[in-house]
Amino acid sequence: MSEGIGASVKRKEDRKFLTGKGRYTDDINRPGQVHAHFLRSDVAHANIKSINTKAASAAAGVVAVYTGEDIDVGGPICGWVVPNRDGSATHEPPHPLLAKGKVRFVGDAVAVVIAESLQQAKSASELVEVEYEELPAVVDLETASAGAEIHEGMAENRYFDWELGDEEATDKALKSASRVVKLTVRNNRLVPNPMEPRAALAEYDDLNDSYTLYTTSQSPHLTRLVLAAFMFQIPESKIRVVAPDVGGGFGAKIYVYVEEAVCTWASKKIKRPIKWTADRTQAFLTDAHGRDHINNVQLALDSNNKIIGLRVDTLANLGGYLSAFAVAVPTYLHGTLLSGLYDIPAIYTNVKGYATTTTPVDAYRGAGRPEATYLLERVIDQAAREVGMDQAEFRRLNFIPKDAFPYQTAVALQYDTGDYEPALDKAMEMIDYKNFESRRSEASKRGKYRGIGVSSYIEACGIAPSAVAGALGGRVGGWESASVRVDPTGTITVTTGAHSHGQGHATTFAQIVTEKLGVPNSSVELVHGDSDRSPFGMGTYGSRSLAVGGVAISKALDKVIEKSKKIAAHLMEASADDVEFKEGKFTVSGTDKETAFGEVALAAYVPHNYPLETLEPGLEETAFYDPMNFTYPAGTHIAEVEVDPTTGVVEIVDWAACDDFGNLINPMIVEGQVHGGIAQGIGQALLENAHYDENGQLLTASYMDYCMPRADDLPSFKVECTNTPCTHNDLGVKGCGEAGAIASPPALINAIINALSPLGVSDMSMPATPETVWRAIQNAQARAAE
């Protein structure tokens, strides 16, 4: 069917966005609305000696001014904790909604000024006097791990010290190895930068003692849960959270931030709707950042170049407060992926998470998996170079063979299915790998260094099953819910707890309905993003929407079909067991009896001829789906670059990606997700870096200094897929949202090293800016001259 599973259906949601009719949080206004402006700390680390809000409170248009002392509810909570190596628990220091006694990063909210207009709020905030007693800034992991104190009573300034794997076996492998390949890499700190800045509009309803919060969230139900149960301690029914159209998330909009909570809290105090919208610099300062690891890697090889062990010691910079999933990212989303798609018998990893006086760090597209893939694909490449093997063949030699599935890794995961060589082969074919050397020599005639870099990755999507997540320290479930309501006229309303902020759920999910019920896409309406209109949900992150939320819809559809069959059986006077449903029609096997889906729908709501004694009327079903396992997308990306040695500029001349996402519902949308992911990965590898000075000032706090990938920084991409369907969900689907961002950084860095290896360059840090590359060339040339 042209609109069902597997079809590149054009997106249903496009029209509103293309005509300017999208409705984002800042587009919404409420009668009597006032504006909030947050006064933020200019210093990275200080005790607050005093705050004087008197003049600000008296300023024109000011409705209220609040500081941390005024707020009587708790702040953001931690959604995942892990045990320390010594058995003690993760240290979870409090994170007040507005700073209390101390500020811990530049941008920490110190006071909120609420006024009739935004300009008035800003002007008044200039009158708030804050006296700080400055303390030393702690910016890098070296300082953070050397006796800094950011949270009172937190030993060694460490949030956690976690381990996974078999240390003894790994160290034994390292000792017995015929070669140990060593590498230290830094995964640069990134700022997610969805194009829509965060915003909130909170309104209190006096009559019902309830709140409505419009917010830029990837997970409105989680926001409701955190606000109601953990901050305000009121029934969840008293808070409605609406995440309308949301302009991108990439992780940064998963969490509950202080601004939305403060606006919600204050809306009751002043009994007026309060709006807050971040400007871009506030977004840079306060949206949770991503990555920022230092990894020490040791890879053990036997004499046949087979990997026999891997040890990774990681330091993670988590910033001034522990963000919701900050603990999960460098631990269970990182350590468990260290086997990659390789057969590695022994792995051990230790991760220490430190506090610094920088913006809190949390999940950003890929969240832990890009870090794992980066270090692994870098050390694999170095190993291939050291043993003198082709980079692709070295990988092939060490891949988990296709007959080894399900494969139990040395780091807790069980991969259900996979076949890695076809994707590698296809990517190599797409980029014409075998003729690369002739392209390299042609480029060298033009004075350019040409290189090719491979990255084979695996990731784990859809954080579940809940029981496992819970056992590992997760404090939320890993399920998703869906309900499917068939209207009397046969149109369908699907509600989901997943949230679309660019992913095209309205289209993809409708395709599942079309496939299963045989109704056209246009008859399917998707409801999401409003906690009052959809059942409880978990939101969208970790490439889970389809693999968990989509499967929940499929399960609800199965229930609808099952019930429909009973109704159809009644209508056709047959036994339900004999009824078949296909392409929107019910038939009775062995007869020519048939009835259309629409007739069954009508009968369900106008039950004049209906088995009321055994079946309830109506046709609406809800399903909760909790997966049995993660899904494991995998694949190979190959980048080809040319380096201009005179300037260090890297030009990406070709890109081939071959991914295994299992079954595809909408290949067009999947491809778009891959493109976007690759672009963000290229951004990390070449352009982006959150740069703090030694005083903890973020020097890249606007697009003047933080380098966002633009159209002319990127090439077009060749994207194809292989398919080993997921074995444990009904749709055979995996996740695709993060793959590009996971696979691409090492492909690019490996390509640059490959290009410059004739000069003796063997390492390259991210971002590989022109100067970084130029310096590497200069240093290599200087070494060669010695």
Binding site: T647, Y703, D705, W774
Partner: protein, 262 residues
Amino acid sequence: MYSTKIVKAENSSAAVQAIGSSKEGKILAGGMTLIPTLKQRLANPDCLIDISGCGLEGVEDKGSSVRIGAMTKHAAVAESSLVAKAIPALADLAGGIGDRQVRNRGTLGGSVANNDPAACYPSAVMALDGTVHTNKRDISADDFFKGMFETALEEDEVIEAVSFKKPEKACYMKFPNPASRYAMVGVFVAKFSDGVRVAVTGAGEEGVFRHSDLESALSSNFSEEAVSGVEVSSDGLMSDIHASADYRANLIGEMTKRAVSS
């Protein structure tokens, strides 16, 4: 943005008068730098004098030079067939400033008056031995630029036009800052019958400057080899998170070579 008053001046003397009668008035040309600054509340002028109605737009061929009105947009210079014929390098430079939308609003006069150390236009004014025409006087390029963000302009002075001498050959090569797209290094090389002028922007701590070593090398031998023979010093060059002084020095050499060989 703080509240302010807007005065629409009809000619440059009215603009000067308005500045005089304000406490801390500012000329608003294209606004590409000024408006973002005001939005951040990093300045609080009591009055903005909009000079878009002063009739300062247009390109004229003056024989040995091209005269361009101060309020001429970058896009107009980039698309001017007159400029393309007389000084193609100048049209190229204008076509590479900022992005399309900046070029549709940003003006020559605004860029020159602001003298941002990373702006493109000052290098053209300097390399093309330009003259800045104000309501009061004509100022030669060498006297006009006084260091980062500083010019010879007095309080009661408004730029009306800039003249650029037609070179025998010229080229502007820009290595953009990857984030802001301003010049990290921009080199404007102009060959005249009596010598070569090389102006560098984006690199100097004092803003745009002429590179005398490169000029003398190229004046006697206009070739890439001549550039290779010059040791570009990093003294006095900017160093920031995007590029060190050493790297900028390297780029000056490279961009000059490219400009010469283009």
